[in-house]
Symmetry: C2
Subunit: 459 residues, 2 copies
Amino acid sequence: LSRIACEETVLNHIRPKSEEYEHIWSVAGRLIGAVNRSGIAQGMVVGSVARDTWVRGDRDLDVFLLFDPSLSRRDLEEKGLGLARDIAREFGENLKEKYAEHPYINVAIGDLDVDLVPCFAVETAAAIKSAVDRTPFHTKYICTHIKESTDDVLLLKQFMKGGGIYGSDHVTEGFAGYLCELLILHYGGFTPLLEAARNWRPGLIIDLIGHRAKDFEEPLVVVDPVDPRRNVASSLSLTKMSEFIELANGYLEQPSIDFFFPPKATRLEYEEYVDLVHARGTAIYALCIHTPPLVPDIIVPQLRKSLDAICGLLERHGFIIHRADCCMGEDSSMLLFEIAVDRLSAVQIHMGPTIFNRVHAQKFTSKYVDNCHAGPYIMNGRYYVEIERPYRRAEQLLGSAILLETSLGKHVKKAMQNGWKVLKGEDCWVEEFIPFLSSFFNKRSPLLRIFHQRAEEIE
Amino acid sequence: LSRIACEETVLNHIRPKSEEYEHIWSVAGRLIGAVNRSGIAQGMVVGSVARDTWVRGDRDLDVFLLFDPSLSRRDLEEKGLGLARDIAREFGENLKEKYAEHPYINVAIGDLDVDLVPCFAVETAAAIKSAVDRTPFHTKYICTHIKESTDDVLLLKQFMKGGGIYGSDHVTEGFAGYLCELLILHYGGFTPLLEAARNWRPGLIIDLIGHRAKDFEEPLVVVDPVDPRRNVASSLSLTKMSEFIELANGYLEQPSIDFFFPPKATRLEYEEYVDLVHARGTAIYALCIHTPPLVPDIIVPQLRKSLDAICGLLERHGFIIHRADCCMGEDSSMLLFEIAVDRLSAVQIHMGPTIFNRVHAQKFTSKYVDNCHAGPYIMNGRYYVEIERPYRRAEQLLGSAILLETSLGKHVKKAMQNGWKVLKGEDCWVEEFIPFLSSFFNKRSPLLRIFHQRAEEIE
């Protein structure tokens, strides 16, 4: 398939149908009418619907309620939420109060997932009182510039989704929709962007209107056209940036619809899993907890933090981590540890004080002289002894209450205070986590197709 | 036993007997006579005999042949060795040519071990042409200053011997005889030195005549009174310095003849060794080679270098060294490795190039895409794959020719090119190395007595 034919096919799949278009805008129109009729706020559609950069099947509609900036924050929250709640009740069902920097209302209207978000109608982006006030300016900026490029944005978003790098949340650490739009604007289209990305390096700065007013540390810097002190790509990880570069290379080398709609990831069977674990010759442990009742954007970073803390503890006790990862499930969450060796020596070397502090010296040598495998002896001005290792197997450590003393995330710690389960080897095969285990052990990114392609070409 | 009674007893054991004294000086006198009669050189007794700081039973006599400094180096070596050889033939037997910075003659005269060393009779220590020319100045300095302190020097030397820290060779890295003499001179006696040593810290500088002309890095600096740019303690390790401090503390806390004449180290029995190894839960390997036919001062540093190199190799392959040590025996030498874990996972993570170098990227991903346990995947801008670990057991690595590619000492490498033996666990129990194994596994320094004493006092 040629690149053009491929992209045309994709666009035919992802451009919103006219019925969708009419439906979403009729709902939007009614909501805006209701806001405006209130007389206390102005309604505005924002997000990809407003920018005409939404993809077929997307069900998200964002309507902002713009209030007079002379209101107090407190008044905004009260009056704003009140109005949003009234409108939500009038048009939809299953109303929920949610929080970003400020509270807002989420409601189902037909098959649409609608956010009603109160904010201040500030004069300029420089005058914003909270991050949410910035959104209308993003919408205005994109709407006035995107013009003919909406197809390119649609392609890019789908390309990002297909590659698993779309979304700026803490779980994905990938590309936000607004970032995609700015990249298309800057490079002038989907293909020029991919061409350029082949030569991207960490430290790249893109500043569409040349007004950067700050230094940034992140691997990719895209200065927000409405805020010279903000990096739109601040939550993009180097890994996801690298994967985009790899995907861009792969796609330009050999275009395929697979980049946009990848084949479903293979899921391991139990027997394969058992064989794989055996072949790897590692020790597998899963630590399972009840998932705290909060959104992934809060829990996943906490799981990662806990994973790091427990890996650190394991390593301080002599266990070598091969790999580790975590997965937040609906009911329970799993921290998975793959350990290179699971049986350590009985003795370990314990470093004592320097010989130059006589008080510590006397305490240390007297404590251990009759109570150790070897020593005390002196090396380079310090005492050492060899003592019994407290944990010879990772299992013992993972089951110990000492875990609660590491720096776990707040809600993860709370969940662990109610206990946790340690599974080993084949017992880690738990229904809810089969896709996670499949990708962990089969660790083969969407990029694998590209690597195969290249290897074949070289042959 | 009081300190004074204890030291008196020791002195009665170590002061040379008058017969010894007369015998050694009569030999010395005849040798000097022979040198002087030659008309081309001046004879001089140096070393501890000249300084009256030799210990009963010492059989070393050093006679220097001082030549005119206007001679060329070559002439010195020819004429010097010629004269030394003639004299050695006349008085002794079993003549050997040896090398320090220059060649000299070693010969047995009766029960004495005599070195005949040609050197230049330079005017001042500043004018020396080689290190050996400095020795007569050391002798003159000590002879004119040591006066009444010879007993203190004798005590100190025996104290150092008893503590296993006497000797500045590469094996011991301890205190040289000349260093002992200077310390006694500086502190005014054996007891004041021990008192002072309790407060020693690394970085201490002792400069008897205040003429230091250089900065030194070593833990103890004792500026040579005859050379302001030389540290007499340069080969003293921090470990041996620390052990001296500990011994000084222990002796002053509770004096005992044991410090000067320690009880013989306990030697392990085979059954104890087997139990010990089992209790430690480590993996023990010994690598044995034929000992190259050279002196310990050359071979031991090479064994240590080889030990470090092989430990590095083991660690790069994932094995964790608990402890390692080496021993030069008469026939064979042993490198002993105690490893905390001996069975590693089958897979290991292999880091690839950055994704930003496209040529390397293509090569790497094509090489591994169908030839790895997992990956290739990207992390922080680099490719990684998981491949089969080449050595899962230390035994395999220790038996591999890859060892010859590490930076072994020259003669050790030569010996290893003729092959080596790898022993494991109980098989490491080889007659020649039982004392070495005993001290390795029972790792209990001469300091242990002190630690026990203190622990009892605290109770």
